[in-house]
């Protein structure tokens, strides 16, 4: 099986599993996985730019913020409906990506990473300075829900005609879950296809040796700008939808530096530049957190020594980053290429 075919089959497998798992999940896991899918989309968006071209962005959350704030504020102040706010938000994110990519192309390596680190910091200060509009660090509540009551009622009507009855809250969760599932499947397919196409090959070639690409008569800048635009678009789409699910613009979820770093972590864990790896990494990061929280639960009564938090809960984040370091040392290429290598070796072993 070629790497491309492997990636596609893994993508399809993952997407099918997520879809099939839906009805069996308890409600907390539905919400967790809904956000995990959103995060996987961010990670894939990061991967198509940074993973493929090797230009490490430390501040991808900036594009989430541009799109999220555009979407949310248009909905709040001008009462635009979802079908208008989300595309506008995405367009703004793409514009920001393009605007930024042109000068950023002059910057290489660490300089590029620096600017991307600083962009969300500056944006965060601006959001606070403009707090009368943006709500500052408290955010603004009252954005139209992604799954509005009218939509849910219509769904319920259809289902009842099929003699299926689903409790109202469950239906609401299904709706959110599968909206993000569609997003995940769509973005996954497009990006995996892109990464295995000629464009993907060129982007990878740029990572390995930009001069050689230029020497071959290919305009590397054009491809990098394209990667910027598509990356901003994907991440922006996620950000715009998240605002409508949260029914609010949240400062932290739209601008936290931690999320930016977690995108990198996700992609490194899964395998940089593989897209499907980033998808897995994203699901693993968010799902793993929840598993750890699950394993480490506070038991009452609490004693005089204070809170007897379990070892795991205390050390969760530490273990998480330590694992990242270990991966960087021993499996730098990430889980997916590791798996691909193993399967290839197994096949070779079998044919002998």
């Amino acid at each position: 099986m070629s790497f491309r075919a492997l990636k596609f089959s893994l993508l399809v497998l993952t997407v099918v599993i997520i879809a099939a798992a839906g009805p069996f999940l308890p409600s907390k896991w539905m919400t967790t996985l809904m956000y995990a899918q959103l995060f996987a989309v961010y990670a894939m968006g990061w991967d198509i730019l940074s993973g493929m071209t090797g230009q490490i962005s430390f501040g991808h959350i900036f594009f989430v913020a541009v799109s999220g704030y555009t979407t949310g504020l248009l909905n709040l102040y001008l009462k635009w409906p979802i079908w208008a706010t989300v595309p506008t938000g995405v367009v703004m994110a793409v514009l920001a990506g393009l605007l930024f990519s042109v000068p950023a192309l002059r910057l290489r390596g660490p300089y590029f990473s620096l600017v991307t680190l600083i962009l969300p910091l500056a944006a965060a200060r601006l959001v606070i300075i403009l707090a009368d509009w943006t709500g500052g660090e408290l955010g603004k509540f009252g954005v139209t829900p992604l799954c509005q009551d009218s939509l849910l009622n219509a769904l319920d009507g259809v289902l009842s005609r099929l003699h299926i009855s689903i409790e109202a809250f469950r239906l609401y969760q299904y709706c959110n879950y599968y909206v993000f599932w569609v997003l995940l499947a769509l973005v996954g397919t497009i990006l995996v296809w892109l990464s295995s196409s000629r464009i993907g090959k060129i982007l990878e070639a740029i990572r390995e040796n930009e001069e050689a690409v230029e020497a071959a008569g290919i305009n590397a800048a054009k491809y990098k700008i394209f990667a910027f635009a598509i990356s901003a678009c994907v991440v922006g789409l996620g950000g715009a939808l998240s605002v409508h699910t949260n029914e609010a613009v949240f400062f932290n979820s739209l601008l936290s530096l931690t999320s930016s770093i977690e995108m990198i972590v996700a992609s490194v864990i899964g395998g940089m530049g593989t897209i499907v790896g980033a998808l897995w990494g994203g699901l693993l990061v968010r799902g793993g957190e929840q598993v750890i929280r699950e394993l480490a639960q506070l038991k009452l009564p609490i004693g005089a020594e204070g809170l007897a938090l379990s070892f795991l809960e205390r050390w969760a984040t530490f273990i998480f980053f330590a694992l990242l370091l270990v991966l960087l040392f021993f499996a730098r290429q990430g889980l997916l290429p590791l798996l691909a290598g193993l399967s290839r070796r197994a096949k070779r072993g079998g044919s002998e």
Partner: protein, 305 residues
Amino acid sequence: MDQVLIIAERIVIYSVLISALYALVALGFTLIFGVGRVLNLAHGAFLMIGAYTAWFAQQYLHWNLYSAFALAVAICTVFGVIFYHGLVRHVQRSPIVTLIATLACALIIEELIKIFFTTNTQLLAPFVSGSVEIHKTTVITNRIIAFGASWLAIILFWIFVHRTRWGKVILATAQDQDGAALVGIDVKRVYTLTWAISGALAGIAGFFFASWVKLDPFMWRDPLIISFAIVVVGGLGSLKGSIVAAYLIGLLEVLMTYSPSVRICAADLRCFEFLGSSWVGVSSLLVLIAILFIKPEGLFGRAQE
């Protein structure tokens, strides 16, 4: 008129003081980049280790401040060396992996401090309590000591680099690694030395940074960003550039504290402040972005190859 002069005086004094600390904070960072081409994103965490060591020695071991300070510098020096041999040496070849690995280390250190010392903000007792009057400006005494210590460290460092044999070896390695190796310089030992020096400088900076403001597990972020800003504005790897940039950024921040703000309001009475004290921080970030776009190699940087 008198009032204007007093304000000018204060702006000068405060910015001169804070900038010295900024320069010291950035020094170790720029050294590592200049010599080894490594961007150490854990530099802020180095500072934090120094600060917490001193605080721990003082609070729990009841050491006096001078020995606590010495311990902080020693621990940071050792940590610098361990950090190089345990981590950086193995990932150095790939700049991407280096960036991510050093950042992961910073986050690990933050986590450890949260686990052992909670997230509560703490105060590091100053060397000398109280304040002094310089003409018409009141300054916390500790800041003058920090200023003196910073400059002392910078000058000693400069003398070391330019006047000693080892310093010259470091300079040679910074200019051309392969050339240095060819003429028989043990590059690994040079790197070990620079990491040790960088650690020591971070220890001193961390101590004074903490007694200037505060200690908490997130305190590594600001120094890192300051180092970044300074080093980029000054030109990555340029010592002179870093000091000039530190003074530029320090001045800009203090200016913003004093600058009058303009309140701009929309028809619906939603307003925002343009300039003024709420722009401290954001102004230097914006200047930084502008410089990166206009002159990416920085004010004193070598042009990119």
